[in-house]
Point group: C2
Chain length 304, copies 2
């Protein structure tokens, strides 16, 4: 079990889906990621919140053993996101973004964090992602990066620079096509791998995920849920399960990577069952094991 560092956002989200509505609940990429990964390994968070950030949210993460020494409280208000989903839960509509303290976020890693062996660069400005990578005293064993259309469109050069230096990129299907400039998803994944990352994980919402690693594809479906309440955070929860599982392994080979994709899918499948981190906070390790087995049953071809 090795330490896992995440640099990303901690946010207050207001979300409306066809199944309900929540106002300024706990959200943010580093939040979902760290909570999810905490079931597998020791996680440390580097992020920033405003003075208005509720202490109860910090306790929620602290209770899971998440190390919050790198979470800085800055003057001002916490980052806020307001989003809406229609019946096509694959597509979020951003109604409002208030960057607040996130606008000035310049992640500075304390000495204790500069040798963390597993690093997740959540979706932030690619120049900041690159800066974090440079602060590391030793090349981590595994560096993964997430990004989004905003950076692909606005800072693609910077994004490509940092992509060249990471091992894994997680990206959704539309963004993969956009980044590669290629409508065929299979070609798009190969094109992104050629930009640097040995492993490309494409998140496809209700259609699951696919991984291209060392030239070989692996597909996992989404868990067949009868009720999906809110997909917010699913991608970061996925990444948390994926990286958390790998950080806990002695050996990271192709088989471990495949299991990691399934653990990522397992964790994401819980997140979408309720708003914010509600479902995750009710989660027991046995639930994770059970759903992993259920996932295996969904895709296994041999035996009974």
């Amino acid at each position: 079990m090795a330490d896992l560092l995440v640099v990303g956002s901690v946010a207050l989200d207001s979300v409306e889906t066809p199944f309900g509505k929540v106002h300024e609940v706990l959200g943010g990429s580093a939040t979902y990621f760290s909570y999810s990964a905490s079931f597998f390994t020791q996680v440390r968070v580097v992020a920033t919140v405003g003075e208005d950030f509720p202490g109860a949210h910090l306790r929620l993460l602290g209770d899971r053993g998440v190390d919050l020494d790198g979470l800085k409280t800055s003057k001002g208000k916490t980052f806020r996101w307001v989003g809406q989903y229609g019946y096509d839960l694959n597509e979020a509509k951003t109604l409002d973004t208030q960057l607040n303290v996130l606008a000035e976020f310049k992640p500075a890693l304390g000495d204790g964090l500069r040798r963390t062996p597993f690093l997740f660069l959540a979706n932030i400005d690619p120049d900041l992602q690159r800066d974090v990578l440079r602060q590391m005293k030793e090349r981590p064993r595994l560096v993964a990066l997430d990004t989004m259309n905003f950076w692909i469109q606005g800072k693609q050069e910077a994004l490509r620079r940092v992509l060249a230096d990471v091992d894994v990129v997680t990206i959704n299907d539309g963004e993969a096509r956009q980044l590669a400039g290629e409508p065929n998803l299979i070609r798009a994944a190969r094109a992104i791998a050629s930009m640097g990352p040995r492993t490309v994980v494409v998140k496809r919402g209700e259609y699951g995920a696919l991984m291209l690693t060392d030239g070989a594809f692996f597909f996992v479906p989404a868990y067949p849920l009868e009720s999906v309440y809110d997909p917010t955070g699913a991608g970061d929860t996925f990444a948390g399960g994926f990286m958390g599982y790998l950080a806990a392994q002695e050996r990271i080979d192709a088989a471990a990577m495949r299991r990691a994709v399934v653990y990522g899918s397992v964790m994401a499948s819980f997140t979408v069952e309720d708003f914010s981190l509600k479902r995750l906070t009710r989660l027991r390790p046995a639930d994770i094991a059970d759903r992993y087995t259920a996932f295996h049953d969904l895709i296994r071809l041999d035996g009974e």
Copy 2:
């Protein structure tokens, strides 16, 4: 290896996709189905064509050992379909349908066909599907049915009547939602199973297929093709591989059903690589075995 009977259409298709265009080429549900299934078992076709139907097409099927005794040449012209696909190859736009001899199609099974142990009722009027089922002297070991939005909308009562009497239904995802009146695909599949069929196979185009059988789900991705030329016939080719494989098995259990879904996916993955049956006519049994292994590699979680 047991006999497999298909009742469906033989057509002349004109298709345009972003990758090319063909005029009045061989098509039709019974055509794709029987050609695909012929790699696994003995297939017999009940269908109708007009006097204009090219003999070369018949020879193509005959050369694969497909029994065409039930293919009737009627006075008039062969059924024609004109369709177009945009870059979203999941959605066909029908530009023209000329039913011609298909308008008067009343499948009459000769004595030799009334005891065929495997039966596929391709997408035709559900009343005709039911009539074929009634002509069987013995209940076949396995009856599968395909349908489409046209019948779901226009003849749902008749469709539900025949659904109650079949073992397997193959249906695409949009049609599954429409038939069940339920946007969640997992609930939709369960709702369709509750209408009668023990097995529901949902075809999802580029997202693969899922099967619900005896309450358990199984997911298979689409083969990761870098070039898809024409999806026409993919669903019927899938059904041909699925039913053909099962007809060749001694025992039809859950594991055989899963393998059948993969063989269906294998066959469909070839069909979409070229227009009409072009890719299938170049197919060797070794290609099928190789792609089956490749499919297994795409989804296997354990081992190397």
